[in-house]
Symmetry: C2
Subunit: 426 residues, 2 copies
């Protein structure tokens, strides 16, 4: 891993794959086809791309029951405990609207209303991601969303992974479809004979899924388009090099485009971590991916002092930040931009990926400057409410009419003035 002295400006930003014209053309074709031909189009593309022919996209209760039967009971307990922790953390985000009294019986209010229906895309492929199910579904449930749909591509055997079905079952979600790719996003956005449309689509996916989400954005809401994972570690000489190296590699193994950075005030730690990363890499199952990430985007910066190091972290605005310093909690209060912060040596980043309760859907590519991790507010919307009594109207109508006329909107002024005392109230 490269070691350099920290200069003023550093950045995590990588040139990300935005999809090429050919891929976009394909996605648009799929979206149009599903919009026009519904289930028939879904069948066609499932066969074409996932190599499965399904009579029924919806996962049957018997399939869920089978998955529960097959599943390691210890892992199920682990998932249940993780789910409870995630629920505990997200419950604290729930909130009520408010009603503010004005004079003369008038009032203003804000009402918080959960979305009617949301869809979670769970990627398929070689691995199963039950943690994605927990992280996306639980905030929606806490928000009060009534209909939660999961969609994920079936394997060659026409099934979804047991782990995904078990995670869904733990959460009480049973509307699950074996549909993947852009056709799944189309189904969620437009609806088909089998799949009713939703109001928001969340969850990660490949480039086709990402492009499809961008295309349907506006028709429905989407979550952020997640980029490759990032970790920044801020450490001083109280940190252990093997632990820091292991944490850097935990993100590097996600993606060759992932980015792992150490910023430290200790030259000794910098050298030890570089050596440890090399040592640990050689035995990592995902060595190839992790090595690419470390070689292309990994970096160790030596800071002159903690202030400079903290400044650098804020300029990075990393997705994940670990702080392993003598006064880690205190130092964390100076961090303005980070998706998730892990304090002290025992708060290894994967603790938050799976279990602690915080969300693992987090802003990447420096968007933590302005964006947040997935949370309950992503599944609600707000309506403002105005009630003006006759008296309040009478007092304020001339002011409102003046303001409207100043902006050249005579119709607005007349609307406010149209309420007449002489007609009597109702």
């Amino acid at each position: 891993m490269k070691i350099t002295k920290l200069s003023n400006i550093i950045s995590l930003k990588r040139q990300l794959e935005g999809g090429n014209e050919e891929q976009l053309k394909t996605v648009r074709q799929v979206l149009l086809d599903v919009r026009e031909n519904g289930d028939a189009a879904i069948s066609k593309y499932s066969q074409m791309w996932d190599g499965v022919q399904l009579d029924n996209f919806r996962v049957a209760q018997t399939e869920i029951d089978d998955a529960l039967l097959n599943f390691d009971p210890q892992l199920k307990k682990d998932l249940e405990e993780a789910a409870a922790n995630i629920r505990y953390y997200h419950e604290a985000q729930k909130r009520d609207g408010y009603k503010l009294p004005l004079d003369n019986g008038s009032w203003l209010a804000q009402r918080i209303i959960p979305l009617d229906a949301v869809g979670l895309y769970v990627p398929g492929g070689l691995a199963a991601y039950p943690s994605s199910v927990l992280m996306n579904v639980i905030p929606a449930q806490v928000a009060g969303v009534q209909r939660i749909v999961i969609t994920s591509p079936a394997g060659k055997d026409g099934k979804l992974p047991d782990a995904v079905l078990v995670a869904a079952s733990i959460l009480g979600v049973n509307e699950i479809y074996k549909v993947g790719g852009a056709q799944a996003i189309a189904a969620l956005a437009y609806g088909t004979e089998t799949i009713a449309p939703v109001d928001k689509i969340t969850g990660p996916g490949n480039i086709y899924v990402a492009l499809a989400k961008r295309e349907v954005f506006g028709e429905v809401a989407i979550d952020m388009i997640a980029g490759p994972s990032e970790i920044a570690v801020l450490a001083d000489d109280t940190a252990y090099a093997d632990e820091i190296a292991a944490d850097l590699l935990s993100q590097a193994e996600h993606d060759a485009l992932a980015c792992a950075v150490l910023i430290t005030t200790s030259e000794q730690l910098a050298e030890d971590v570089a050596a440890e990363v090399e040592r640990q890499l050689s035995s990592l199952p995902k060595e190839t991916i992790a090595r690419q990430s470390i070689e292309n985007f990994g970096q160790i910066y030596i800071a002159e002092n903690l202030e400079q190091a903290i400044g650098a972290v804020n300029s990075l605005a990393p997705e994940h930040l670990e702080i392993v310093t003598a006064n880690a909690e205190e130092d964390s209060l100076k961090i303005r931009h980070a998706g998730a912060i892990f304090i002290g040596r025992y708060s290894s980043e994967p603790v938050g990926d799976y279990f602690a309760g915080t969300n693992h859907v987090l802003p990447t590519n420096s968007t933590a400057r302005f964006a947040s991790g997935l949370n309950v507010d992503d599944f609600i919307k707000r309506s403002s409410v105005v009630y003006y009594s006759e008296k309040t109207w009478e007092e304020n109508a001339p002011k409102i009419a003046r303001l409207a006329r100043m902006e050249g909107l005579e119709g607005h002024a007349r609307a406010v003035e149209s309420r007449g005392w002489t007609k009597g109230g109702n």
Copy 2:
């Protein structure tokens, strides 16, 4: 105005202008040019499109002082009162993070942090929009944003409208630039020698501004891309036709693509409103625009009963909803999808555009199904924080490692397991 019986599905959605290829090409060229050439590019485009040559883009304090001197004191008082009302409503949206204790000294937290810097685009042209200044700036101020920038195209005289400068001055905003169009968005997103970049850009604009906002999205945050205005009125036979007609026209005068809809249980009201709209149209200064809107998108629906009418409103998900019925507040509780709700005959929609305190930046084109009006949360972000003590780590590390291995992420498991008792804590 057309009157029809309400059938099951109605929609406000119009085919909206998304900008053509030529416009997009222009916008991309401007963005690139400003990114590379900074102020020089800004000057070039300001001269090219706004026809003004400016030595200094930044509004001088003397210009603000002059505006205050020239401005009608009554209108200034009206703006100040509106600002105070808007602040009162939005203050209630402010909230703190939280810290949740876990066993063994561990804890989780959510921290709420305001954005560092935001930019508000205020459109120029024939009219001045001080209300936009209030509606965009105040939520950002309540959120705690330290740097708020306003940018707006200068008139041929090289100046901004007094009303805009006065509104900014009332709010204490003095970083104001005389830059408009796509070049303004580029300056806010990338920064130039004169204008430091911001983290989020809000505010309406023409098609070039909208396209530029879409293009820089990801680099910075943006607010929604606002569509043409909409109003739905839900009324029974207690409503006055002239008032309803005036309110429908107040939205129709905004834009030929604006949409004004009445849904009523009263056939008599339907007929009276249609006649009133025609009568009032003929004397409206913006008659041409309003007439186009009413003819193309205006509609009166007669519902069989209130239930059906409320169902229709929810399927519309209108930006603005007025409820003028015998039990308007009670009926409003059945509304799930509307940007802003106005209750009773004295809560004419322009009350909320200018004065009541609620925000007038609202979701259009049925996006109220999943989106909210501009609010304080649009100017903050959240960081999650995890602190695990040694004991909590010890108890949970095996579970976390199992979950990671289930997903094929050995590096994650090893990271969590790397913490050793034998090394001793710190």
